[in-house]
Amino acid sequence: MLKGRNLIKPNDLTVSEIDEICGLAEQIIVDPNSFSDVCRGKILATLFFEPSTRTRLSFEAAMLHLGGAVEGFSDAANSSTAKGESLSDTIRTVSSYVDVIAMRNPKEGAALVASQYSNCPIINAGDGGHYHPTQTLTDMLTIRALQGGFEGHTIGFCGDLKFGRTVHSLAEAMARYKNNKYIFISPNELQVPEYVTQELDEAGIQYTTAERLENVIGDLDILYMTRVQKERFFNEQDYIRLKDSYILDNQKMSLARKNMIVLHPLPRVNEIAPEVDSDPRAAYFKQVKYGMYVRMALIAKLVGAL
């Protein structure tokens, strides 16, 4: 039963609840008109204490496509927070007006605090570098829709695997399904943290590491790209030596399988060359659309519309 629940971290949802949400999202994709009125009379508040383009617009578009209404703010400076109001008071107030809240806040744990004071479901739309569960749902719906399910995939995670929260969340979420293998492709400085590999060990997930994308891209069913930032490197020589290795271009794509898909949480900077965009395996813009559909399904479930 998802009605009235909060979504604070990806594993708040059981495997069967993820199936339920993705299944509904797939129904919406097939026939969106049938769902265009299911949230009539319901209001979503988008409380964004720090800027975001795609996540906020994705939530708002999702609610509007369900026939609901949207209110909120996109910058803490436009809220009573600027006057020194506590998060708990903001949430108590807003949750008196609306049916569901999507909140982004730069402080880690902010969504959990909000859920303790709210009269309506809280969806964590990012709490600092901590959790971003609807990005994980987006990634999972994309994988399910384009690769037929959650099991038996070899997934390459490429780029900044140390600080990339979307990588950690997806790796943990996909570890709950059978026969997935991971290849972590990153420079030494940006390897996936030990707490993640510990969890994978406990889950019995096979994983290997690689320093160069071109050496392993041919083994992958899914390539999850993230940005490598220059300032993360300890010295410039290493950055110069390795930076091209983490830029996906047509030459590297020529080494990949025909049915591999490329995902990216976006925004992209230069880690995927624009020439790759026209490759049918480039799925990152489809992923954006799946993000909206999965948020539609999530909102509809949490407010009890379906």
Partner: protein, 144 residues
Amino acid sequence: MLNVDTIKNGLVIDHIKAGFGPQIFHFLGLDKADFSCALIMNVASKKTGKKDIIKIDNIINIDYSVLGFIDPNISINVIKDEKIVRKIKMELPEKVENVIRCKNPRCITVTEHYVTPSFRLVNREKAQYACEYCDALYSAGSID
């Protein structure tokens, strides 16, 4: 050798790691007590070389989970009519609240002071706790 009077009815908190006695003494509010109590530091110990002991000449309510968090090797002897009637062994609690504060500057508890600091045990072998809000890791063994 230092002599402290025998307790008639009260508690002896024993096997405190040397140096941790004052922290516990203050945490239990014994510095403001109106009954007899003693903090004895650096007592010779066969097991650990040195230890601290607190003797309280009164039966008071103690949050044992906090003592377990500070040091799971602590033991408490309950004294009645000058005899030990019960020995209580500490262990690491599953959860501690209002004992330490999260030091992660990005944690919500740092700015929203009304939130009760809460930590859950995540690794018993390593005595490791995680902040309930931001998941920052801490080792058991100290209080703010």
